[in-house]
Every structure is written in structure tokens, then in C-alpha cells.
């Protein structure tokens, strides 16, 4: 049995979630310090992938990154590189879809964090960098990790945007979720069922993880 789709799904989601994790945390931190009006605007833009149908996200990626688009043309000119219909196209799609999950939870955690602790750090002479990495992040880690696990789970099951930007090329861009659709469409119900079961197994593992990380903190 070819397990490439599972490997590909995990690879795509791991890279995409890592990117969403880093960018999401910094975006949340940056947005919180913006003036109120710009804050609302930025918040809407950064959250919108959460409410858009994934096909719309896929559509925008194609518009911007396909070989005929401005960025796509340049990428080909400079690096002889095409992004669409490659496995890394799915990384872009999944990263965008997963991003709001990290961003929202990080923002929520930062917002509810006791501002006095940050101010205390400042009056003690600690640098903003120290305060961010050693005080803010460690105390918000439960919320952020839980958000990241949800982002990962959501990314693993991504279908709409992935199938638009990366398609289904066996051994190249096939993922768990696109495999289910593909095998169903060509009437190989047993294969579709097989990938459905893998999907279910992976999902159960993640639900357990989510619950583990969402447990209320014991120590302050």
C-alpha cells in the first residue's frame, strides 16, 4: 500500500503550521500594539481565511502565484520555479488556512494577559525582547499550543484550496484528503474507505492532543 499521501499530508501540514505558528504569534503581537482603527482593519484581514470557503483562498493563490500571474512570472524568470501544482503549493494554501487559528488564539492569550506583568518587566529594566520571549510567551503557551494543534488538525484535513492549487498527482501532490475524493470519484470505494480510516485515526489522535493541551494549568 502506498503511504505517500499520508507522508505528504504530514509534511505539508508540518511546514505550513510551523510557518503559521511563527507568523501568527508575531502578527498577534504586532496587531495588539496598533492604534484602534488600524487594529480592526488588520484583524479582519488576518482572520478572513477562517470564514472564506477554502476554494476562494485557492482562487486567490492561483491568481497571485500561477505562472501567468505577476509574481508567478517573476519567480519563473528568476528561479525557473513554478509553485502551482507542486506539493509546496499546498504548503502555501494550508499555511493561509491554518494561520487564523494560531493568530486568533495567540491574540486572545496576549489580550487576556496581565499587562501589569509586562509593565513590571519594563520598570525592572528588562528589554522588550526579553519580556516577549521570557515572560509573555511562556505564560501564554497553553493557549497558543492549543491553537496550533487545532491549526495543524485543520491543515491536515485541508481539501478545497489544496486540490485547486496542487491538484492530485499520485506520488507528487496527493494528500490524504485529496486521495479520498480521488478514489471515490474513480469508484475505488475500498481505497476511499482505507484513506477515510487513516483520516479518522489521525483526527482522533489530534483530538486527544487538543484536550491534553487545553487542560487548565495546575501551576500558575
Amino acid at each position: 500500500m502506498d503511504l505517500f499521501p499520508l507522508f505528504n499530508s504530514l509534511r505539508i501540514t508540518a511546514i505550513a503550521t510551523s510557518a503559521a505558528f511563527v507568523v501568527g504569534i508575531f502578527a498577534a503581537y504586532a496587531v495588539l500594539r496598533l492604534p484602534r482603527f488600524v487594529k480592526g482593519l488588520c484583524d479582519t484581514i488576518l482572520t478572513i481565511p477562517l470564514v472564506l470557503p477554502p476554494t476562494v483562498v485557492g482562487y486567490f493563490i492561483l491568481v497571485w502565484l500561477s505562472p501567468r500571474s505577476v509574481i508567478g512570472t517573476k519567480l519563473y524568470e528568476w528561479f525557473s520555479m513554478t509553485i502551482t501544482m507542486r506539493w509546496y503549493a499546498a504548503v502555501v494554501a494550508v499555511a493561509i488556512i491554518a494561520f487564523p487559528f494560531v493568530y486568533r488564539t495567540a491574540r486572545g492569550a496576549f489580550e487576556s494577559f496581565d499587562q501589569n506583568l509586562l509593565d513590571a518587566g519594563r520598570t525592572l529594566g528588562l528589554s522588550e525582547k526579553y519580556i516577549f520571549f521570557r515572560i509573555l510567551l511562556p505564560n501564554c503557551k497553553h493557549g497558543i499550543i492549543a491553537g496550533t494543534v487545532i491549526a495543524f488538525a485543520r491543515g491536515l484535513g485541508e481539501y478545497g484550496a489544496t486540490s485547486m492549487v496542487a491538484g492530485y498527482i499520485p506520488g507528487k501532490t496527493a494528500t490524504v484528503s485529496t486521495s479520498v475524493a480521488f478514489f471515490w470519484q474513480i469508484n475505488q470505494d475500498d481505497m476511499a474507505f482505507y484513506w477515510v480510516m487513516i483520516n479518522l485515526a489521525v483526527s482522533v489522535v489530534f483530538m486527544v492532543l487538543i484536550n491534553v493541551f487545553n487542560k487548565p494549568k495546575v501551576r500558575g
Binding site: 501589569n116 509593565d119 519594563r122 520598570t123 525592572l124 529594566g125 501551576r219 500558575g220
Partner: protein, 348 residues
């Protein structure tokens, strides 16, 4: 020496403070929302004033005109937050080390251990803040602040987060610390007795402004404003009407001759424990005496509180307080109450 002359507008509230504090303890007293904490925050640099100037020991921390605004990290202030603001993810040792400005980790560690010794929290060095009692948290926060040898200490209601039975012991400790710290200390509190015991000077804040400033004895003896009288514990305050040399207090139904009428005086006050029966007062000391009736009596822990008013009227009540022993001795009620000249406060 701290000189702070700043203003700040905050949705409907305007702060306009001009205070100077020399080495020693200066109390900031005021009702909630009078701008005490905001003043401290502006000095520490975690809130930014809209105008003015802050100078500490000759160093300009903030100057609106010259566009100077040192970040809090560069101001070297020691700020004790109401809830102590210990970092929950760090042990007591690590918390104290964050305050130390030494170069190496080793030096920071020994500084932290030394301070822990001073503050009697050595056994707790490896504990997390959530495992500490209120008092231990306060000591840890103080140790953390002193690790950086700040140029000024600012304590924002240091006992607000503590159970009352813990306060006394900690207050004694804090008193020692405050005495030995030979730099300016700003002490925000609601509690007048605590302020009287711990502080040298008092600033009374009212609606964002510093109203009264002075030595604590002077401020308690002659509060000068209504707000200051209230904050220093005066329970009876009433408006006055002046006709010629006569001052009448319509709410109390009394009238008396003014020796000299100080300017801008619109109120008088009398502390509830300074009212005495006219029968035991010396004639010459009495400014006003009046027949009274008791409206209600409240038994406090160690005192009796009588709510009284001029007999046969429906005027607002006056609070008269005395030790229970004296109350018991008062069985045959006196006919009249007396206000002594020395104890009547004339207030703006």
C-alpha cells in the same frame, strides 16, 4: 529629589499634578480615581503624560517641550504593583534575578540570594509565586525591585492585596525598609493610619489634582480642604454661611463668632472623637455648644458611635464617637455638646 509637573487627559478625566518629593516617604492619598496610580505610572514611564516635565535626581525623565521621554527601562524606578506582578513562570530566585542589573548570571544569583536572606524568603527561593502567601509575595516583589538599586521607590497600595491580620507584621518590616532607603519614596494608600505611621509628607489628590501638600502632622491637624479632611478621617463636615463676623452652620443649627475669618472658607469640620459634653469643657475653649438628642447609637469594636443632632430639629446627624468606657460613664446624658475652638477645622 523628584520633581514632577505633568498633565494628562484620559477620556473625560484630566490629571494635573505638580509634586516634589525629597528623600523620605511621601504619601499620595486620594479617593479611587483621583489619579494617584496614574501619577506613579507616568513617573515610571509606563504611561505617557500629555505635557510637563519629570526630573529625578537631576536626570530629566520626561520633558514634553524638549521631547524627552526615557523608556521605563532607562528610568531606574522601583515600582511595587498592587498585586506585586511576580512572573508566574519563574521561581522566586529567577524573579529576583530579573531585577538585578549585574553582568553575569553568577553575580545576579548571589545578589538574589543575599536579598532573599534580607527578606526572609530563602526557604522559598525555588518555589513559584503561586506557592507563596501574600506576605511572601510582597517580600519577593520588594527584593526584586531592590535588586536593581532604584533611584526612587513607588509603592501602589502595598497592603491592598493582603489579609488584615498579615498587615501589621509586614508593615513593621516595611517601615524598617522605608527608613533605610535614603531616596524618595512615593506611597499610595487609602488608609490614613497606615499613612500616618509610615510617611513623612502627605500629598492629597482630588479629581486629578494635588490639593494639599505638607508635613503629615500639619495636614492631619489642619487639612485645609474638604477632601483632605475626609481622607484624614474627619466625619463631620458642613457648609457655612458668613454674615459679618458671625459664622453659621445651618446643617448643625449652630452659630458662632469668628475670631478671624480665613479666606475662601466654605466649610467647617469636626472630628467625631473631638466632640465633648459641654459640662466638662473649659468655658474659654468652647466655640459653640448646643442641646442635642440621640438619633441612633452604633456599637463599634472599641468605641461607641452616637449619631446626634440639635434637639428638637430634623437636621442631618453629627457623628460623635468615644471609647466604650466613656460611653458607659455617660449614663446621665449631658445636656449640651461642645465644639472646642482648637478642634474646629476651617476648610476650603
Amino acid at each position: 529629589m523628584l520633581v514632577c509637573d505633568i498633565g494628562k487627559n484620559l477620556n473625560g478625566f484630566s490629571l494635573d499634578v505638580n509634586i516634589a518629593a525629597k528623600p523620605g516617604v511621601t504619601a499620595l492619598m486620594g479617593a479611587s480615581g483621583s489619579g494617584k496610580s496614574m501619577t506613579l505610572r507616568c513617573i515610571a514611564g509606563i504611561s505617557k503624560p500629555d505635557r510637563g516635565r519629570i526630573e529625578l535626581n537631576g536626570v530629566v525623565l520626561f520633558d514634553y517641550e524638549k521631547k524627552i521621554n526615557l523608556p521605563p527601562q532607562k528610568r531606574n524606578t522601583g515600582f511595587l504593583f498592587q498585586d506585586y506582578a511576580l512572573f508566574p513562570n519563574m521561581t522566586v530566585r529567577q524573579n529576583i534575578m530579573t531585577g538585578a542589573k549585574h553582568k553575569t548570571t553568577h553575580e545576579k544569583q548571589s545578589a538574589a540570594e543575599e536579598l532573599a536572606e534580607t527578606f526572609h524568603i530563602t526557604p522559598h527561593l525555588n518555589k513559584y509565586p503561586c506557592q507563596l502567601s501574600g506576605g511572601e509575595k510582597q517580600r519577593c516583589a520588594l527584593a526584586r525591585i531592590l535588586a536593581g538599586s532604584p533611584d526612587i521607590l513607588m509603592l501602589d497600595e502595598p497592603f491592598a492585596a493582603l489579609d488584615s491580620h498579615l498587615r501589621w507584621e509586614l508593615e513593621l518590616e516595611l517601615a524598617g525598609l522605608l527608613k533605610s532607603f535614603n531616596k524618595p519614596i512615593l506611597y499610595v494608600s487609602h488608609n490614613r493610619s497606615e499613612v500616618y505611621r509610615l510617611c513623612d509628607d502627605i500629598v492629597i489628590m482630588n479629581a486629578g489634582k494635588n490639593e494639599v501638600f505638607g508635613d503629615k502632622r500639619t495636614v492631619f491637624k489642619n487639612p485645609a480642604t474638604v477632601q483632605a479632611a475626609r481622607l484624614t478621617g474627619c466625619k463631620n463636615i458642613a457648609a457655612i454661611a458668613i454674615t459679618g463676623t458671625r459664622i453659621s452652620v445651618p446643617n448643625w443649627g449652630i452659630e458662632f463668632e469668628a475670631v478671624k475669618t480665613p479666606k475662601d472658607i466654605h466649610y467647617v469640620g469636626i472630628r467625631s472623637n473631638y466632640i465633648i459634653p459641654a459640662s466638662i469643657a473649659k468655658e474659654g475653649d468652647v466655640i459653640a455648644a448646643f442641646p442635642f438628642e440621640i438619633v441612633s447609637e452604633i456599637e463599634d469594636t472599641f468605641t461607641s458611635i452616637l449619631m446626634v443632632r440639635k434637639r428638637g430639629t430634623n437636621l442631618p446627624v453629627i457623628r460623635w464617637e468615644m471609647p466604650k468606657k466613656e460611653r458607659a460613664a455617660l449614663r446621665g446624658m449631658p445636656q449640651e455638646l461642645a465644639f472646642l475652638r482648637e478642634y474646629v477645622l476651617f476648610l476650603r
